[in-house]
C-alpha cells in the first residue's frame, strides 16, 4: 500500500441496504476526511477525524457515520442507502495543515 486505498472502486447498491466504504492510509497521517463529489457541486465534506479516536461532522453528515479506531483506517457507513447518496466518494488524509491532502482514488456509488 502506498498512500490511500479506497474500496470498493465502484458499487451499485439497492436502496435501504447498508454499505461501508473502506479507507486505509499508510502514511501515519493524523487527520482523515470523507468527501462526496457531485456534478456541479465540487467537494463537500461529510465527516472528518483529526486523530484516532475522534470524529467530527462536516457539511453534509446526514445519513453517514464514521469511526476512527486507529490511525490507518477511516470507514464510512451508509446505514440505509438512499438514491440521493449516489455520488463519488473520496477519502483523504493530512499530516499537517500545511501539507494539504492526499486523496484516494475514489469510490463511485450508485444507489438504485
Amino acid at each position: 500500500i502506498a498512500g490511500i486505498t479506497q474500496a470498493p472502486t465502484s458499487q451499485i447498491l439497492a436502496a435501504g441496504r447498508r454499505m461501508t466504504l473502506r479507507c486505509t492510509q499508510d502514511m501515519r497521517h493524523n487527520a482523515m476526511y470523507w468527501y462526496r463529489q457531485d456534478l456541479g457541486l465540487g467537494l463537500r465534506l461529510i465527516h472528518y477525524s483529526n486523530t484516532a479516536g475522534t470524529t467530527g461532522k462536516g457539511e453534509v453528515p446526514d445519513g453517514y457515520s464514521v469511526s476512527r479506531a486507529n490511525t490507518d483506517d477511516f470507514p464510512l457507513t451508509l446505514a440505509s442507502a438512499v438514491p440521493s447518496q449516489t455520488s463519488v466518494y473520496f477519502c483523504a488524509s493530512s499530516g499537517d495543515s500545511g501539507f494539504g491532502y492526499t486523496f484516494g482514488s475514489g469510490t463511485r456509488l450508485t444507489v438504485v
Binding site: Y33, L43, L45, Y48, D96, S97, G100, T102, F103, S105
Partner: protein, 118 residues
C-alpha cells in the same frame, strides 16, 4: 469565516493559448496555506502546489505559474501554451490555523472546468 471563490465555472481555449484560473479567498487568519489541485477526466485528485501566507513570491513550474497577492486575496493559476492534456477541473483550497476548530481542514472552491481544444 473562511471562503474560497472560483468565479469561473468553465473556461474553454484553443491549444497553445495561455489561460489564467482565478482564485479569491477570505480568511481572518494571519497564517494560512493555499493550494491548487487538478482533477483530470480520469477522476483522481492531484496536488499541484502549496503556498504559505508569508511567501508571496510567484512560483513557476514548467508551463504552470502561480501569482499570490495578499493585497487582493488572490492566488491565481496560469497555464502557458496550454495543451489538451491540461483539460481538467482545477480546485483552489485554503487552510487556516486559527479560525477553524480543526487545524487540518481545507476550504475548497467550487472548481473551474478547463477545456483545451485541439
Amino acid at each position: 469565516a473562511q471562503k474560497v471563490t472560483q468565479a469561473q465555472t468553465e473556461i474553454s481555449v484553443v491549444e497553445k493559448e495561455d489561460v489564467t484560473l482565478d482564485c479569491v479567498y477570505e480568511t481572518r487568519d494571519t497564517t494560512y496555506y493555499l493550494f491548487w489541485y487538478k482533477q483530470p477526466p480520469s477522476g483522481e485528485l492531484v496536488f499541484l502546489i502549496r503556498r504559505n501566507s508569508f511567501d508571496e513570491q510567484n512560483e513557476i513550474s514548467g508551463r504552470y505559474s502561480w501569482n499570490f497577492q495578499k493585497s487582493t486575496s488572490s492566488f491565481n493559476f496560469t497555464i502557458t501554451a496550454s495543451q489538451v492534456v491540461d483539460s481538467a477541473v482545477y480546485f483552489c483550497a485554503l487552510s487556516g490555523l486559527e479560525e477553524m476548530d480543526s487545524n487540518y481542514q481545507l476550504i475548497w472552491g467550487a472548481g473551474t472546468k478547463l477545456i483545451i481544444k485541439p
